[in-house]
Point group: C2
Chain length 188, copies 2
Amino acid sequence: MPRSQRTPFVILGLLGISNRQPRSGYEIKKAIDTVVSSFWHESNGQIYPALKRLASSGLIEIRADIKKGRPKKLYLITPKGRERLRAWLASPIEIGRPRDELMLKLFFGSETDIPTLIGHVEAHRDRAKGMLEKCSQWEKENSANPGSHRPFFNLTLGAGTALSEANLRWAEESLRILATMPAAKAKS
Amino acid sequence: MPRSQRTPFVILGLLGISNRQPRSGYEIKKAIDTVVSSFWHESNGQIYPALKRLASSGLIEIRADIKKGRPKKLYLITPKGRERLRAWLASPIEIGRPRDELMLKLFFGSETDIPTLIGHVEAHRDRAKGMLEKCSQWEKENSANPGSHRPFFNLTLGAGTALSEANLRWAEESLRILATMPAAKAKS
DNA sequence: TAGCACATGTAATAAGTTACATGATTTT
DNA sequence: AAAATCATGTAACTTATTACATGTGCTA
């Protein structure tokens, strides 16, 4: 959805929270794919050009550029970059325009057969289950480390848990409903 | 998210379920903006070119072309189009890559102040409330018309209700948590 | 007669993905 | 010695939005 240009802010955010630790593009990509992967993604095709633009506008700076051995550029957020990040964090949330293919296919349900729909909802249920497991895994790690309170991560964790529970419950309820429906159109 | 090209299938789906009733591009856009708006969207810049491509590949056909008076092209799905729609409905759901700006901003919460975060979560709570109201409105209309069972719409309605309830509960819980946090960084 | 809803479309631009190229280092 | 991982990047392409152009018919 072509909108504001949020890639630079994800980078700024990750450099912002990694306190004074310079990070490489590769590390940023890794972080996106692991720690925020359940609510954000970026491709290399977005990250590396954004890094260049951020550096040339002085919002980040190259702190180390290891040429010998493995090539690696380490970036650090500048005060100007922190300011820009803060401004973005305070700006209103851009609501993502909805594009939920499962809902669309269910809505067009009369044009296909019940077993097909059941398959889609089962897959959705399994994804929700997987997500829920991931969340409780994180919660377990949290209580194992009582020293490190990560209050903001915990808010997002709570959302993940709440949403996947709701998805799971809805899927199971919907599967019960679908099971009672006449298989009007036989499978092909 | 550049993926399969789903616009034509939304069109095919809407023409598919509007039993034998030919529809104009304008009506299709209207339908998207009203009946499926909570889980899908399309712009005119997508719809009209897609309509052309669908017609030239024989998946839809112009049933009426009113030139006199208000210009209007009415499209109807062809048997070939129905086949294509069915195949798409049976194909696996393409999972939308996540891009949840609220979660991202919460995750970077340490880089801003608590009142800012509270503002974002309040806005989210209000959106969830609005959605929930819309859902119960639809449910009311459903029980008012006991004759017309719309089982597939009801599945999507159930999802809308479940998800917005979960969002609402999470938001309220999170606001309680945020209220207890020290306003470490004062507002600017 | 002004304004709104109806109606169809296009051009410029932006955002984002995919797939690849390139090469170093570490692990098996 | 092969394979995996670390590491940086680019080019071609697709999808999508935004903003506009153009015109009709109805209604206040």
